[in-house]
């Protein structure tokens, strides 16, 4: 579906955000869309992008120029059209009675949490935002409490965002709920934390995707219940269900 781009700008640092026309079709935080880069057959496949907001007839995505597809995307201008399919996948579904909502975000993995917070303005959320360096923390989210970690120590704590999470007092609480999106290593660490601390959690997995709607089987995730597809059975999976491979 071709949609008109209304705004397309750099967020400073490594990320760019793109807003395009989109009706409020009930898309939920954690879901994603598939973006077609060009009408050419190279690059051929669509690219999955988390929904970073949906408000007033505009959908936002926030992306990192990672390779050829996203660099071509960065060349598009406001006024031009972008071809987007979706929304696809499962969403974050924090339990109504959770005592604390802890959001663990790595780099551009913060994008869905912007949407989550916008849709849950009245629920208190604590953000834990990690990246390699300052540049990787470019998504600003109106969390009620925010903690940062950088591998180079340029912002707040030097180290892993999961270390900051572990130090948080809310972790003592079994009714807390953790949600995470970011690199695999981080997700795995969060998963192990959830299991160890017996805290409920949701993990958004970014697998390579061919289609985004469940038919190519390119995005298999091994779970206790067998192969699942990251695009329709995920991207948001319950913590404690994934069989991690090295």
């Amino acid at each position: 579906m071709k949609r008109k781009i209304i705004r397309h700008e750099s967020l400073g640092g490594r990320y760019r955000s793109m807003d395009f026309e989109w009706p409020d079709d009930g898309a939920k935080p954690g879901q994603f869309v598939m973006v077609r880069i060009s009408d050419s057959t190279d690059p051929l496949l669509r690219r999955p992008m988390s929904i970073a907001n949906l408000e007033d007839g505009l959908m936002s995505i926030i992306y990192n120029v990672a390779g050829r597809g996203t660099s071509l995307m960065a060349e598009k201008r406001a006024g031009e059209a972008v071809d987007v399919l979706g929304p696809f996948g499962t969403s974050f579904d924090p339990p109504k009675n959770a005592s604390h909502l802890l959001c663990v975000m790595g780099g551009v993995g913060a994008a869905p949490f912007l949407f989550l917070k916008k849709r849950n303005k009245d629920r208190k959320m604590v953000g834990f935002y990690g990246a390699a360096n300052k540049d990787g923390l470019g998504i600003s989210i109106p969390m009620d409490e925010m903690h940062f970690a950088t591998e180079d120590g340029s912002v707040e704590k030097r180290g892993l965002v999961t270390d900051v999470l572990l130090e948080h007092p809310a972790m003592k609480n079994r009714d807390a709920h953790i949600m995470a999106c970011g690199p695999k290593g981080m997700l795995r660490a969060v998963d192990e934390i959830c299991v160890k601390h017996k805290i409920s959690g949701e993990l958004s997995l970014e697998e390579r995707m061919g289609c985004g709607f469940g038919v190519c089987l390119g995005c298999a995730v091994e779970t206790d219940a067998g192969n699942k597809r990251a695009c329709v059975d995920g991207p948001v999976f319950k913590a404690g269900t994934i069989r991690w491979r090295t």
Partner: protein
Amino acid sequence: MANMKVRIGSLELANPVIAASGTFGYGVEFADKLDLRKIGAFATKGLSLKKRAGNPMPRICETPSGMINSIGLENVGLDAFESEKLPLIRKTGARVVANFFGETQGEYVAAAARLDAMDGVHALEMNVSCPNVEKGGIEFGSDPVLLEKLTASVRKAVRKPLIVKLSPNVADVRPLAMAVQNGGADAISAINTLKGMSINVRTREPKIRRVFGGLSGPAIRPVAVRMVYECATTVKIPIIGLGGITTVEDALEFLIAGATAVQVGTMNFVEPSICERLADELSKWCDAEGIADVNDLVGSLKLG
């Protein structure tokens, strides 16, 4: 309005556009993306007697105008297909080509016989790009003798139209097309994916966990059109052409080269409604060009 109906053995299709196996799930995933009655048919993900989990990840990667996949023939198995998928598929009114495979001739025959008995399966497509575990892993589709025997024994076991899908990883496709015809199949589909490989140079690992995978998409179209032409000029049974179709012109290339119908694979991922669009555009193209019957295009290549 031009006639769009084409015939594959005893099966009549409303038009020549079929969605290719492995790119259209079990059809039901597309029920909200296009009108399944408006396309010729769809081919299911390759089915085997037993459910299969497939290969480890990563299973896909992108290449110039193409992609490599090594799904490893993951599928729900015939039981679940019959009990869970087929009832839903039947409701859509779609024409269904059941794609299937085995690791031994016996498995092929058994799977084919079961599918032949299933209500709502209109034709069988046999994927022969699989290693024969009884013959040291040589692919069924690479040896004419093996292939003719396999085709003949499956033929005996089924009454529905039998399509054999050829592998392009051969020196010469013509003896294999002959073998399929001699074995008694109703049609040939060509081509399956080309064996390919790609490497992540940063990690120095193959981009596909199992190292090799199947190359599909527009990149392979020239190879596919050539093989369809070679098949069509070798055998009398109808050919279903596929490999890299993205536009109505691409589909026309295959028809003109000698295909009676076409399949669209990888592009279903990029544009889920493409089969319906191409069926529609093909009909309009015929009308605009004054072609009364799409079958008149088949094999209409002009040699200088």
